[in-house]
């Protein structure tokens, strides 16, 4: 069962940027791409735990600020030759409001 709750307005996330979202003890990174899509990943690089919300967003990927690992925003998968995966969460946008599926948080906790 999905449980969508509004988390922010689209305009509150800078284009080609990110916001950190705190859900209890869990830090989530909300990314907004150049084409105004929004993705949510756990705010923790699988390499050395760098905060992905602080990275540079480009295309459908974010590059970790600590050691430049590149992570696909859609799948959370680390891009070529490095390996690993970040937990991703379901988001949708409706009339400029960003909703997060809190049911999907349970599995990450």
């Amino acid at each position: 069962m999905n449980e969508w709750i509004p988390v922010t307005k689209l305009e509150e996330i800078p284009r080609l940027g990110a916001r950190k979202l705190q859900a209890g003890d869990l830090d989530i990174a909300l990314f907004r791409t150049g084409s105004d899509e929004v993705f949510a990943l756990r705010d923790r690089c699988p390499h050395r735990g760098g905060p992905l919300s602080q990275g540079i967003v480009h295309g459908d990927a974010v590059t970790c600020p600590l050691h430049n690992w590149k992570i696909d925003l859609q799948s959370g998968e680390v891009q070529g030759p490095d390996q690993g995966c970040v937990h991703s969460f379901a988001v949708r946008i409706e009339e400029g409001v960003v909703y997060l599926d809190v049911a999907s948080l349970e599995s990450a906790a």
Binding site: I5, P6, V7, T8, E12, I13, P14, R15, L16, G17, R19, K20, L21, Q22, A23, G24, D27, L30, G34, S35, R48, G50, P51, Q54, G55, I56, V57, H58, G59, T63, P65, L66, H67, N68, G80, P81, L100, V102
Partner: protein
């Protein structure tokens, strides 16, 4: 959309490399079919010599396995050569009678060994040295027979001779000239090579012209023009290669020595491209692999319909792959009239190095015995670097150029497999060599991606390049002299900067559009560079793009490994008052700062501040009169000073006062890389001014200005720019130097490599000799400072960019709803 059909004729290195480059750019554009005459998948032809010598197995030199073709949905037909091209019907037919149609055709038919048409050239036991089949024939002969003759004392011939010798044969090399490898070596180097090969057991017949190959059923000997004969059981013809143009010729494509192509690798039929050894480009044909890869890149770019990228020919270098022999050659190694030569000769150690110099630029190099610096000389050659400032030590090599801390380590060839090459990522030599051979890597970028070696601070780049060069021989695709900004474009830093000013590009989307950027919004390499270039070109108009800045510059603090930040308030010239110290102490108490440290640049660093706390910390600091210290940015960092004549008994000038003035002039300025200043009050130089980007050393009669130094990875001591008499001149010259660097250096290039690249003379000319130019630079710097000297901390303490520092919270949202 229906996919177009692309056919590749020739399943070799150049053709398949083009496909790889194409797949990187556009994986879905074409249905691809490959026809190869040989029964093998694509293999590394330049590694045939080690296979012949028994140092490698055939399986080890395969570059693309059949699985690779399958994974990329490429249809591969091996052992079935294409016999005809029907350009009207856009169709090809093969030896087995198969036919296929194309929208685009790529010819990569390579070359054939040139077989001298003497009587007996078609006897069994006469082979070329070109493919796996030839190697197998040779190995087979080595098992059954004793004697071999190799005709041709060039690169290929000597490698063949060496291989046969290793297989136990008695080998004689026959050469028409009196110099071995005359296309790569001069006389002294060739003599050293010959002596060394003779010591290894090879025999030579120099200046011998073959008249006939003798034998009935099989070769039994060779006769020369002078009537002498020699017995042999095997003849290897290695006198050269000829571009294989037969198929193209028959199809009516214009061919001369090779298939003639333009700068986009198109033949006279625009649907048909050609790459590799079969082509003739601007009157040159190439038999080495590095140029072929450059061609592949450009050709793929056009096949992907991107339409930028031009192939403009290559300068090549050569290494001989004979174990135990180090030899390097590049460019015009035989001096022409008016050229100068620098020679280092040490017969006892078997070392010979010669550089051909024209107008203080390297035109050619030959090295024997010690080739460690070959790639360095080659780079200087391709980049046409002015060597006047280091020409008296150039023959001793790059490690003689103040490469502190590395010195002997650069001799990677002698290191054991366990030796650590990349200190940042802990990668040792064995891992790198293994990755290069097992993954078929050819470029520095590929090695970085797979091993992480040289991917962090870059100080081991030279060693990794040397490893690449020694592992793959001439297959090593040396970093091209024109370096593209990143993978998103083929334009270089200089070209982009020029376009920004000439086309008046004032925003990033405009730039992406006008310069046909390959990605919709760039990548983490190009965006910060472009943001800087736009800012430097249009200080008044360009709106800084926070999302194109690395996090430190976006958050105006240094991100630490735990995600917290460090805060360094500016203290002009390193001076401070008791009140300043109290204010910093109060902030540290109030925000429970876990650690305080004095920095190398004479400032105070507060560690472990949470990002959310930053605006409040800055507010308190700002109220106490502090501005940002920019310790986090590619920006003016600090002006370090010594005590100066107010207190010091040796001081000649007011170094602290001058330091404060310099910092007041320059703070807030964004730079291509970090920029540090220092002022020492006397030549004892307590402020370490001679390892700064710009250092002032006060003397009794005035001020010496030193430039282009840095500590860090590779220590470089400054060069003396000039001496001036007044403080006002110090300020003006400093600003002019900074502005010249800001306007012309590449992003992430510190002053040290920049000064080495453009030469000290050039900087002197711009900043010292050209008075009008200096004034103009000074004025442009002051103009840009009007916009740059806005304290980013104060602005954020007052509410700018709040979203950057305030996390969202689900619990808060829930409570609100």
């Amino acid at each position: 959309m229906k996919k177009q059909k692309l056919i590749l004729i020739g399943n070799g290195m150049a053709g398949v490399r083009t496909l790889e480059e194409l797949l990187k750019l556009e994986a879905e554009l074409y249905d691809i079919i490959v026809f190869g005459a040989e029964p093998h998948p694509n293999y590394n032809r330049i590694m045939l010599s080690p296979v012949l010598a028994g140092e490698k197995q055939v399986e080890e030199i395969v570059l693309n396995s059949r699985e690779w073709y399958a994974e990329n949905r490429i249809t591969l037909h091996t052992g079935d050569p294409v016999t005809a091209i029907d350009r009207k019907a856009r169709q090809i037919t093969t030896a087995s009678g198969m036919s296929a149609s194309y929208d685009r055709l790529l010819l990569a038919t390579g070359s054939n060994p040139f077989i001298i048409p003497v009587p007996g050239h078609d006897l069994p036991g006469v082979v070329g040295f070109r493919d796996i089949q030839d190697v197998e024939t040779m190995l087979d002969s080595a098992r059954q027979y004793k004697k071999a003759v190799v005709i041709g004392g060039g690169l290929l011939g000597l490698e063949a001779a060496n291989g046969l010798k290793k297989n136990g044969m008695d080998v004689t090399v026959v050469h028409l000239m009196d110099i071995l490898m005359e296309r790569q070596l001069d006389k002294p180097a060739a003599a050293l090579l010959k002596a060394s090969l003779e010591e290894g057991g090879l025999k030579f017949l120099m200046e011998a012209q073959t008249e006939a190959i003798l034998g009935d059923q099989r070769v039994i000997g060779v006769r020369f023009k002078d009537g002498s004969e020699i017995d042999t059981d095997l003849v290897v013809m290695a006198v050269g290669i000829r571009p294989n143009t037969a198929l193209a010729n028959a199809a009516g494509l214009h061919c001369e020595r090779g298939i003639v192509v333009n700068d986009t690798l198109q033949t006279f039929d625009p649907r048909i491209y050609a790459v590799g050894e079969c082509v003739q480009h601007r009157n040159n044909t190439y038999g080495l692999v590095a140029p072929l890869f450059e061609q592949a890149k450009v050709c793929a770019n056009h096949l992907a319909q991107l339409g930028y990228g031009r192939y403009q020919g290559s300068v090549t270098s050569t290494k001989l792959k004979v174990t135990g022999i180090d030899l390097f050659s590049a460019g015009e190694f035989n001096e022409a009239e008016g050229d100068e030569t620098l020679v280092l000769q040490d017969p006892a150690q078997g070392v010979y190095k010669k550089l051909v110099i024209r107008d203080n630029r390297i035109k050619g190099a030959v090295m024997y015995g010690d080739t460690m610096d070959g790639s360095w000389y080659f780079q200087l050659l391709r980049e046409a670097t002015d060597i006047s400032s280091f020409r008296n030590t150039i023959l001793f090599g790059q490690h003689d150029l103040g490469d502190a801390g590395h010195g002997e380590e650069t001799r990677v060839g002698m290191l054991s497999d366990e030796a650590e090459i990349c200190g940042c990522n802990g990668v040792c030599k064995g891992e790198i060599v293994n990755a290069i051979t097992s993954q078929g890597l050819f470029t520095l970028d590929e090695v970085r991606a797979h091993t992480k070696a040289s991917a962090s601070c870059g100080s081991c780049t030279g060693m990794v390049e040397a490893l690449l060069a020694s592992t793959v021989g001439e297959g090593y695709a040396a970093t091209p002299s024109k370096k593209a900004v990143c993978g998103c474009t083929s334009y270089s830093h200089d070209e982009v900067r020029k376009a920004i000013s000439e086309l008046e590009l004032k925003s990033m989307p405009e730039l992406f559009d006008k310069l046909d950027w390959g990605t919709p919004d760039g990548c983490p390499s190009c965006r910060p560079a472009l943001n800087y270039y736009l800012l430097a070109a249009w200080p008044a108009e360009y709106r800084d793009d926070a999302q194109s800045r690395f996090i430190n510059e976006r958050a105006h603090g240094n991100i630490q490994k735990d995600g917290s930040y460090s805060v360094v308030p500016r203290m002009f010239g390193g001076l401070c008052s008791a009140d300043d110290l109290r204010a910093i102490a109060d902030v540290a108490d109030k925000f429970e700062v876990p650690e305080i440290k004095v920095t190398g640049g004479q400032r105070i660093d507060l560690f472990g501040v949470k990002k959310e706390q930053l605006p409040a910390v800055w507010k308190d600091l700002s109220e106490a009169g502090f501005v940002s210290g920019h310790a986090y940015g590619k920006a003016l960092r600090t002006v370090k000073t010594c005590v100066g004549k107010n207190w010091c008994r040796f001081g000649t000038q007011d170094s602290t006062g001058l330091g404060v003035k310099l910092e007041e002039l320059t703070w807030g300025s964004w730079m291509p890389h970090k920029f540090k200043l220092a002022v020492s009050g006397c030549p004892r130089n307590c402020a370490e001014a001679t390892i700064k980007d710009l250092g002032v050393v006060c003397v009794d009669s005035g001020y010496e200005l030193h430039i282009g130094g840095n500590g860090g990875i590779k220590v470089r001591v400054t060069d003396l720019l000039c001496k001036v008499e007044s403080e006002q001149e110090v300020l003006e010259y400093t600003a002019a130097f900074i502005q010249c660097y800001r306007e012309e250096a590449h992003y992430l290039e510190r002053t040290a490599p920049w000064v080495e690249r453009v030469s000290l003379n050039y900087v002197k000319q711009r900043v010292v000799e050209d008075k009008v130019g200096r004034k103009a630079l000074y004025e442009r710097f002051k103009l840009s400072q009007q916009y740059a000297q806005v304290d980013p901390w104060k602005a954020r303490a007052e509410g700018a960019e709040t979203h950057e520092f305030t996390p969202l919270s689900i619990d808060r949202m829930r409570a609100a709803s």
